[in-house]
């Protein structure tokens, strides 16, 4: 092996070539990136299980399913706008995904300062998202009286699925924000240029770590796309 990527066959021929080479299936893919992808695949199944059970509960209940458009409406100057907060949250998360993509680009160009800046912007976007989610939860629990076992709008299952699905996603965002802040600090300090060893793994790292971080963050955004569609819009 150890030849450049351009010399290797591509497409379906490349697939059989890589898998039959008996050494490294994922050519030039850092192990961390491959592992992150495998983790994200398993996480995909976890979120799929949540959303599929949401479908099952909603399709099998004889009670009326609450109208998300009304439950999550926000009144602005006396008029009720449906799903306003959720729409803003969606745009904030997409924007943080955009800044993350740009941070990865600057990382690979070894542009230390811009990379750290965009990582920080991404973290701020994520923290804003979690903040708005906390606001939404407070509103629903305190003012609307939604509980995991019952709610005033209809089918009792609604509450448990809302807290489970958005809570699990919010946890992912929160963990992402923590790691984004750590990575931003490491990048700003120049750990990836000087080869300083990490405080936890004691291993040298490089800007590939930014892309691996990016994969996780884009995945969190990806999951929100599906939650937005199936929980809020459907």
């Amino acid at each position: 092996m150890a030849d450049t990527l351009d010399k290797l066959p591509k497409g379906i021929h490349g697939l059989t070539h890589d898998w039959s080479s008996d050494q490294t299936a994922f050519k030039k893919v850092p192990w961390g990136k491959a592992m992150m992808w495998i983790f994200l695949l398993s996480d995909t199944f976890i979120f799929s299980c949540f959303l599929i059970s949401l479908m099952t509960a909603r399709a099998s209940t004889t009670a009326e399913w609450p109208n998300a458009s009304e439950v999550f409406g926000l009144s602005v100057f006396g008029t009720s706008v449906p799903l306003l907060l959720i729409a803003i949250m969606t745009f904030v998360l997409i924007s943080s995904s955009g800044t993350m993509a740009i941070a990865v680009k600057y990382g690979y160009e070894k542009n230390r300062k811009l990379c750290a800046l965009f990582l920080l912007l991404t973290a701020i976007g994520g923290a804003t998202f979690v903040g708005m989610q906390a606001f939404e939860w407070t509103k629903l629990i305190v003012h609307e009286g939604i509980r995991p076992w019952a709610n005033p709008f209809g089918a009792a299952q609604f509450g448990s699925f809302f807290f489970m699905v958005t809570g699990f996603h919010g946890t992912h965002v929160s963990i992402g924000v923590i790691f984004l802040l750590i990575m931003a600090r490491k990048t700003w300090r120049g750990d990836f240029d000087t080869g300083q060893r990490g405080f936890f793994t004691s291993m040298k790292s490089n800007y590939e770590a930014i892309e691996i971080m990016g994969l996780y963050w884009h995945f969190v955004d990806l999951v929100w796309v599906f939650i937005f569609a199936f929980f809020y819009l459907w």
Partner: protein, 110 residues
């Protein structure tokens, strides 16, 4: 910054990401409009699913760089997801059965 020295990884133009970012905004806005304009029935579900998969495809292909990855890893990631479709199929059948039994016994017992 012109740093093309020991560059093994190729990076993409900033414009690519800005375009995708813009498209994601547009798709999100349209899917919000589906709710805002109160589209109902088949039209609503078709539009929601269309915008959802468009956004997911853009994020995975461009932001997560899958478009530029080798097929060996792309196939490992995408094929297992087809099991989700199988699971959805099973649970649709299951939920219809549960719904039927609930209707049946609730009526019998009242």
């Amino acid at each position: 910054m012109a740093q093309e020295k020991q560059q093994e990884v190729k990076t993409h133009k900033l414009g690519v990401y800005m375009w995708i970012w813009g498209l994601l905004f547009v798709f999100s806005f349209f899917s919000y409009m589906v709710d805002y304009l109160n589209f109902e029935g088949l039209l609503r579900w078709t539009l929601i699913v269309f915008f959802m998969f468009s956004k997911a495809a853009l994020i995975m292909a461009i932001f997560m760089h899958l478009f530029w990855e080798r097929w060996a890893i792309v196939n490992v990631l995408l094929w297992p997801m087809s099991f989700i479709l199988v699971f959805i199929g099973i649970m649709v059948a299951e939920s219809e059965y549960t719904f039927f039994t609930r209707l049946f016994y609730f009526i019998v017992e009242t």
